[in-house]
């Protein structure tokens, strides 16, 4: 049982690490700010999401698990807000009116 849980953790954490790799590569290689923003949101949402998923299999108790999910949701919300705000400032024609 514990072996199966550990295996799931390893798989999910590896998937998360892959998305961080992808996000960084996108941030470094994509030509313009808006597509870099696109790459960043992948790392944010999926990278951290898979890491949290993997750690859920190791969580001790319900409250600990809920806190992990709360961290992910907060990051999602913060990420979405900031992405919107940055997209507004990054437009070549200035902020949207």
């Amino acid at each position: 049982m514990s072996f199966a849980l550990n295996l799931l953790t390893v798989l999910a954490v590896c998937a998360g690490a892959f998305f961080f790799l992808a996000g960084t590569a996108g941030l470094l290689r994509f030509p313009d700010p808006l597509s870099r923003l696109h790459a960043l949101t992948k790392a944010d949402n999926l990278g951290l999401g898979f890491v949290v998923l993997g750690l859920l299999f190791q969580a001790e108790g319900l409250f600990a698990g809920l806190k992990l999910i709360a961290v992910w949701l907060l990051t999602l919300l913060a990420g979405a807000t900031v992405t919107q705000l940055i997209a507004g400032t990054a437009r070549p024609s200035g902020p949207r009116e």
Partner: protein, 311 residues
């Protein structure tokens, strides 16, 4: 082990960027990253209480403050070529700093063996306070006078910031008025984040007596959430001359001092708690202190009064 060395190198790299970066704004971003990485280091050093404080105050609130300042100071801050320090000065400074570093390296490598520690004393003291978190026990009992003075230092800093206001705005409202955009993403995010943040802040404060957390960490989150609400235009700063605001600011230190003085009567010394009442008295101190610190931190970030209330 390899992880620790890598993390230490990463911290150094970010610090080099903060110091050596050309642009002030980029340097501030580097500083926020520096604080974040230091929070990870504190976890590695088995100091989660400090990690919480570093993440909230060292990186978060300081970062927000300096980011706002660097965008306002933008143009005059860009250094003209002639303004750089002269090469001989830079060279001399580099030598002095290398010597300081070398001295500290020697100290680190020659730290006494076995390491001195006050942990057993703190553990003995902790039993008497009824608290489960050794760091909170040290802050509130073993070194309570430091904590009392610290709340006073925060108030003094706030007085200093307020006294920078131009005469005509004295007693007015700090910072700019932000207007809410009911359709805006910022309003939406603030409406969602602020309640969650307040809940997390109270949680961190409350668990401080038994687990890592405490009044400074909780208060910092509360302050950050208030500033977020103000930036989204959901709330406006109160005029600094308001009586309720001033009572809130001094409530913490006053209650702390009063309970400290009562210590003479019931336990024979300043800031001494009788064993049976220790935990109750500490909680009685912590609640107003948390509120005062939160208000002080928020107003420190908001800055000096800059406008009068509209009639």
């Amino acid at each position: 082990m390899a992880f620790d060395i890598g993390l230490a190198i990463l911290v150094l790299g970010v610090a080099v960027w903060t110091i050596a970066g050309r642009d002030a704004f980029a340097a501030v971003v580097g500083f926020v990253a520096y604080g974040l990485l230091l929070a990870l280091v504190w976890v590695r050093l088995a100091a989660p209480d400090v990690a919480l404080t570093e993440a909230a105050l060292g990186s978060g609130l300081t970062g927000g403050l300096l980011l706002a300042a660097s965008t306002r100071l933008r143009r005059p801050e860009t250094t003209a070529p002639g303004e750089e320090s002269a090469a001989p000065l830079r060279f001399a400074a580099a030598i002095v700093c290398a010597l300081v570093t070398a001295g500290l390296v020697a100290i680190v490598l020659l730290l006494p063996e076995p390491p001195p520690t006050l942990a057993p004393q703190a553990a003995a003291n902790m039993a008497a306070t009824g608290l489960g978190n050794p760091v909170t026990a040290v802050l509130m009992a073993y070194r309570a006078i430091d904590t009392l003075l610290e709340t006073v230092v925060l108030l003094l800093a706030l007085l200093g910031v307020w006294s920078l206001a131009p005469d005509r705005f004295w007693g007015g409202l700090p910072g700019q008025r932000h207007h809410a955009d009911p359709e805006g993403v910022l309003t939406f995010a603030a409406q969602l984040l602020v309640p969650v943040g307040v809940l997390v802040g109270i949680h961190i404060f409350w668990v401080g007596s038994i687990a890592p957390g405490g009044e400074f960490q909780g208060a910092t989150i509360l302050a950050a959430m208030w500033i977020l609400a103000a930036m989204a235009g959901l709330v406006d700063a109160p005029a600094v001359s308001r009586r309720w605001l001033r009572s809130m600011l001094v409530a913490g230190p006053v209650v702390f001092l009063a309970i400290g003085l009562i210590g003479f009567a019931i336990a024979g010394a300043f800031l001494a708690y009788p064993d049976s009442l220790a935990k109750l008295l500490i909680v009685l101190i912590e609640v107003p202190v948390t509120l005062s610190i939160a208000a002080t931190l928020a107003l420190l970030v908001a800055g000096p009064p800059a406008r009068m209330p509209q009639q």
